[in-house]
């Protein structure tokens, strides 16, 4: 099958409007006869479910948590971008579009990104109307801050809990529709498979996680909004239940999987402290607005700090290496995430790490506290404040801005970040890859859509901060509701889809077989045992920097681990009750396949770009020495993998990327 992105013709600025003017609509009376399944109720799924119900479709929504309000989107801390130009600092749709394409290292689809930038301003209006309490300034207007990779202040935020507030907004819109009976919400339900009838997505098989019941649900279209797959690394900033299963199940039935190797490693996470660790905690990137990142300039100081003989506060300004400010003077501490992450790894690999394991750098607020303190003293009319007063006032400002993050750090590390610099290290965070979708957000399975982090479309090889929330809500509130209507307009005479069709029967049977296998396998090792081993292979060989040798080894090792898993996994308990181990087993089984495809994709891509750094492809000279080297001649494409059984046998399809409105340039943040 040739990949058709279905990008509309015409100038980029008019594409979306023209498209909307020419698609087929479904009349309100007919919408009542059409069912849509939405799997996942995070920002993407929640906003989509609410909007589709609002439009009049019958929506069935599914989530594995006990309430839509707990979807992983809740954890997003920093903020959401929108080209509002409230600050008058030169922002525009074009600039947001440009920053996002450049930030993604020119591996995103132009038309999608432009549309995202175009609808971004609408998102803020929508959320404010829903009662999302964004930060305000003293004049009562919305406040902004800036994020990595950009030079304007376009990020809207609600303290360090922006994701929470946006999700509660979408959740409230869902509540309204649930109350009216337009959305049927299935909490604690996991999608186990998709059902195709005549090649079209017509339903799903689910497992009720409380009773173990296997259920059939039919609809005219299926929307997958199940988030990212960072948990393939075991340790990540994702929620414990985040998984790839729904995406993987549709992949196995014909949806192409795009760019699996593009993983964002976030630079500001709390470092690993030991083997017991179950997850890594992100410290919002907004901290980089005020925090300065450094390591000791001298190896012996780094060593003394690691051994506890020196404290960071013992080192003078000259004894510190503010390596981001040194290497990237234009962007300094605000370089994009991939750049900041690699720079931290580079310093730690060179022996300058500051925690016991040598895998941490400092994020220091001392200067910010002084700067804010002096400013506050002036505002209070004190032109000659004492050092203590400056310190106190400054800490108050920092507390108002980042208080909950500082508290979170203190709880985990048991150190007060107001008085000693935080330690941070990169961790797996966000996956830019995902199900391949066209401009309509439809996968290669007709009638099966994919939105939010689960698809691949808008971020290219790297994602700038505050743009995932934007994409999730743009997809759910403003894009999918139009594009799916065009598809459903052909279905107004179809009538209810029966769940007695043989396709449902068959899908249910294979789901039950897998479950029975797990509970009867009587192996000797727990599910987590395999997940941790997979995570280690992924981090060591498919992590922040990759090379052909490591990737080839990883593919073999993952395959062997998968075989061992199917022989030796032990799943206690039964199939017909609440059984967390059983649910995990299914998820890890899918990760064990995805992991191998992930390595294969990374192996094929013999260039460095964004979240994919191939050691063989680095600049060897000139001002960019040591930086990632992209290869636009050979690799300006999206890799879309077709399932053929074993992940190693997957077939590569290329969607050639066209850049008509942005010139491909070396990405420099110097």
């Amino acid at each position: 099958m040739a990949l058709d992105s279905k990008v509309p013709k015409g100038p980029i600025a008019d594409k979306w409007t023209n498209y909307k003017n020419h698609i087929d609509l479904v009349n309100p009376a007919n919408k009542r006869n059409i069912d849509v399944i939405v799997v996942g109720t995070g920002l993407a799924g929640g906003s989509a479910a609410a909007t589709l119900a609002e439009l009049g479709y019958n929506v069935k929504a599914f989530a594995y948590q006990d309430s839509p309000r707990r979807a992983h989107s809740i954890a997003a801390q920093g903020g959401i971008n929108a080209a509002k130009n409230y600050q008058g600092d030169g922002d525009s749709t074009y600039r947001l579009f440009y920053d996002t394409v450049k930030g993604g290292d020119y591996r995103a689809r132009e038309a999608n990104v432009y549309r995202l930038a175009e609808v971004s301003a609408n998102i803020i209006d929508q959320c404010v109307a829903q009662g999302v309490p964004f930060a305000r300034d003293y004049g009562g207007l919305l406040d902004n801050r800036s994020f990595g990779g950009v030079l304007v202040s376009r990020t809207f935020y609600a303290k360090g809990q922006t994701g929470q507030q946006l999700l509660l907004g979408a959740y409230s819109a869902m509540n309204r529709q649930i109350g009216r009976g337009k959305i049927q919400m299935y909490n604690r339900h996991e999608m186990m498979d998709v059902v195709l009838v005549d090649g079209k997505a017509r339903g799903i098989i689910t497992r009720n996680l409380v009773t173990g019941e296997i259920e059939r649900h039919s609809a005219h279209a299926v929307v997958i909004a199940t988030g990212g797959y960072g948990n393939v690394f075991f340790l990540s900033t994702n929620a414990m239940g985040s998984n790839v299963s729904a995406s993987w199940k549709i992949h196995k039935k014909g949806a192409y999987f795009a760019n699996p190797c593009y993983t964002q490693i976030h630079p500001t996470c709390i470092p690993v402290s030991g083997d017991h660790q179950s997850k890594l905690t992100l410290m919002s990137e907004s901290l980089r607005n005020d925090g300065r990142i450094w390591v000791p300039a001298k190896l012996e100081d780094a060593q003394a700090i690691r051994e506890g003989k020196k404290k960071p506060t013992d080192l003078s300004e000259e004894e510190r290496d503010y390596y981001l400010e040194r290497r990237y003077p234009a962007f300094g501490n605000l370089v994009p995430r991939d750049v900041a992450s690699r720079a931290a790894k580079e310093r730690c690999d060179a022996g300058f790490g500051v925690n016991a394991t040598g895998e941490a750098v400092y994020l220091d607020f001392a200067d910010a506290i002084k700067r804010y303190g002096r400013e506050q003293a002036l505002i209070h009319g004190d032109h000659n404040p004492s050092a203590e007063k400056v310190d106190k006032l400054g800490k108050e400002v920092v507390k108002a801005k980042y208080g909950n993050l500082f508290q979170m750090y203190d709880k985990i590390v048991d150190e007060d970040p107001y008085n000693t610099p935080m330690m941070i290290y990169p961790a797996v965070h966000y996956t830019m890859g995902g199900t391949w979708v066209d401009y309509n957000l439809m996968t290669t399975i007709p009638g099966c859509y994919c939105i939010g982090e689960a698809n691949f479309s808008d971020h290219g090889a790297n994602r700038l901060g505050a743009s995932a929330l934007m994409q999730g809500l743009a997809d759910g509130y403003f894009v999918l509701p139009y594009t799916i209507g065009d598809y459903l307009s052909k279905d107004i005479r179809t009538g209810k889809i029966s769940t007695d069709l043989p396709e449902f029967e068959e899908a249910e049977k294979s789901v039950k077989e897998q479950i029975n296998f797990f509970v009867n396998n009587n192996g000797s090792k727990s599910v987590d045992h395999f997940h941790k081993r997979l995570g280690k292979i992924m981090w060591d060989k498919v992590g922040m920097a990759r090379n052909a040798k490591g990737l080839t080894e990883a593919m073999t090792e993952i395959k062997a681990l998968r075989e061992e898993f199917w022989k030796d996994v032990k799943v206690p308990g039964s199939a017909d009750t609440y059984n967390e181990e059983l649910a995990k087993a299914g998820r890890v089984a899918d990760f064990l396949e995805l992991g191998e495809l992930f390595a294969k994709d990374a192996l094929v891509r013999e260039e460095s770009c964004g979240g994919h750094f191939r050691e063989e492809s680095a600049e060897t000279e000139g001002p960019q020495e040591g930086e990632a080297k992209r290869d636009d001649v050979n690799f300006a494409f999206v890799s879309a993998w077709e399932y053929k059984g074993e992940p190693a046998d997957a077939v590569l399809h290329k969607e050639q990327l066209e850049f008509n409105d942005i010139e491909l340039k070396t990405r420099s943040y110097k």
Binding site: R69, Q126, C127, A129, G131, D137, N187, A239, Y578
Partner: protein, 246 residues
């Protein structure tokens, strides 16, 4: 550290349930409480038993999924945090720790330490929203200035994570802190005014229908709330409700 654990095991809503003793060794003070339970579960699985069921997801104090009554306190001995943010350094070598589910009539036990907090959702279905179309045809966000103070206060109320600690810790199993927080968020914002009367009436009616008790101003909820939601929100909810009666 070596610890003794006394954990509530219950097979389902209709099972009687009982406390079961476990012991665990080599607990590091840097572990979170849930990581300690992970280690215990690994141990139980390896010994051929069934692991202890407990709810959790984000493990960073924001999703509201984790629960647990630890030594008689919701979310354990520390203040202002959820169970996933509780670290083992709060305990001593040789301690005995009691672990129970959040108990309340409106929160039936699903299994072991997992309870059903669906009642919170059902209250929200009755008015936990502003009736605005999601079409995006809304007015410009800055056309309605909101004072920083009001926005901050609404934000404080909106930080509730719906964990249910307030209910579990209240001797009347009252959900008023939770409902008060939601009512307050909208009561403080101009957008929420038009349907304020219906909202509070309907939400309070559903809260009663779910079997939550009444508030007797004990204040335990505020003490145990991981997000510092204050009793003022209950007062505001009551005021909003009285307003609908006059």
């Amino acid at each position: 550290m070596n610890l003794k654990l006394k954990i509530w095991r219950q097979n389902g809503a209709n099972d009687a349930g009982k406390m079961v003793d476990y012991s665990i060794s080599n607990v590091s003070p840097d572990m979170s409480f849930l990581e300690m339970l992970d280690v215990l579960n690994e141990q139980i699985i390896n010994e051929g038993g069934e692991p202890v069921a407990f709810d959790h997801d984000c493990r960073e104090g924001i999703c509201g999924m984790c629960s647990l009554f630890i030594n008689g306190e919701a979310h354990g001995p520390d203040r202002g945090i959820t169970t996933c943010q509780l670290h083992m350094r709060k305990f001593k070598d040789g301690d005995t720790i009691y672990i129970e589910p959040f108990r309340a009539k409106a929160f039936p036990v699903i299994k072991d330490l997992v309870v059903d907090r669906g009642a919170f959702d059902r209250i929200q279905h009755q008015g936990g929203f502003i009736s605005v179309n999601t079409s995006g045809n809304t007015q410009d966000a800055n056309s309605l200035p909101i004072s920083k103070h009001a926005a901050d206060e609404a934000m404080d109320a909106a930080t509730c994570i719906g964990c249910g600690a307030c209910v579990a810790t209240c001797k009347n199993s009252s959900a008023m802190l939770f409902v008060g927080a939601k009512v307050s968020q909208y009561a403080l914002l101009p957008q929420g005014q038009v349907e304020a009367a219906d909202r509070v009436r309907n939400m309070v009616a559903q809260m009663d229908a779910e079997g939550f008790g009444n508030c007797t101003n004990t204040g335990a909820c505020e003490v145990e709330c991981p997000k510092g939601i204050s009793l003022d929100n209950i007062a505001r909810m009551n005021r909003e409700l009285f307003k609908t009666m006059i």
